[in-house]
Symmetry: C2
DNA sequence: AATCGATGGTTGTATTTAGCAACTCGTGTG
DNA sequence: CACACGAGTTGCTAAATACAACCATCGATT
């Protein structure tokens, strides 16, 4: 088996192992915000608001799923809806002040965890690893 | 913000993005074997059999979850139980012939998908990416 | 202007995955 | 022997998700 295949095998195994744990471990770390809620809220934050449909498209989730997740986030007081005056159908979603704060906390603590995990990596390796992941995910975007 | 932090931020984002999708995309590709079942079956296969408790410990799953997953796999005829003659409490789990075949098929098709995604990567990059992932997951093992 | 198809969103229903708690049954140790 | 422990199962619950049916609004066409 060529070396190339061995590498691909490893990548497959490790990505799978990672995926299996990520959700559970995220839930353990941040009971207040599941991986999905976190992701949605983060997207709203850095897009400065967007529509539910956009979230669904971007994350390949059913619109009903997004609708319920957003409803939950709204109930928690983390997002608010602003009806678009130009089109009464659309609700532009924004994180509330409270939502932005919680998001910032979770982000900080996730960042902390990542920093610990990556503490002994040198800068060049971090840089390359980051690049590879971006490249990998971008490829998946195109194929999925 | 030092470059190091930017890399870590990217790694965090990309790993999260990946995790979010992996399950759904695995389910779409292989409706016959969820990501968890696949993982459990694969573990049985390469350990040449093990106990339910070992699976639970290894994958940080509740023993009830493993029990039900195994029951499902057994119902499908993919695993069989062999009671340990030295300790009647333990059941050593093994993939059946059929289970091993299905596993091989799914593995092959997953490998195919990975090959497509990584088709335009050069050997050095694949190698480094694989190493980084192993290193990252090993670190997570220690901390989790 | 009335209508109709497309778009944004919600709700009903079902499935899957998971955890926790309570249980059974066998094992081994005081 | 009694009792604690370990392996596994089962009852119950909750969360996340998909699919389908639905409602409201918009925009284009007649």
């Amino acid at each position: 088996m060529p070396h190339r295949d061995t590498s691909i095998e490893t990548i497959q195994q490790e990505m799978t192992a990672f995926a299996r744990r990520a959700r559970a471990s995220a839930a353990r770390m941040h009971p207040e915000l599941s991986l999905v809620s976190y992701t949605l809220l983060a997207h709203l934050d850095d897009q400065h608001g967007c529509r539910a449909t956009d979230l669904a498209a971007h994350y390949l989730l059913d619109k009903s799923t997004v609708s319920r997740q957003i409803a939950a986030l709204e109930k928690l007081g983390f997002v608010e809806r602003r009806v678009d005056p130009d089109d009464q159908r659309v609700q532009v979603l924004h994180p509330t002040k409270k939502g932005a704060e919680v998001l910032a906390n979770v982000t900080a603590s996730r960042r902390q965890a990542f920093h610990e995990r990556l503490a002994d990596w040198d800068g060049g390796d971090l840089d390359r690893f980051a690049m590879y992941l971006q490249r990998y995910n971008a490829a998946q975007d195109r194929l999925d």
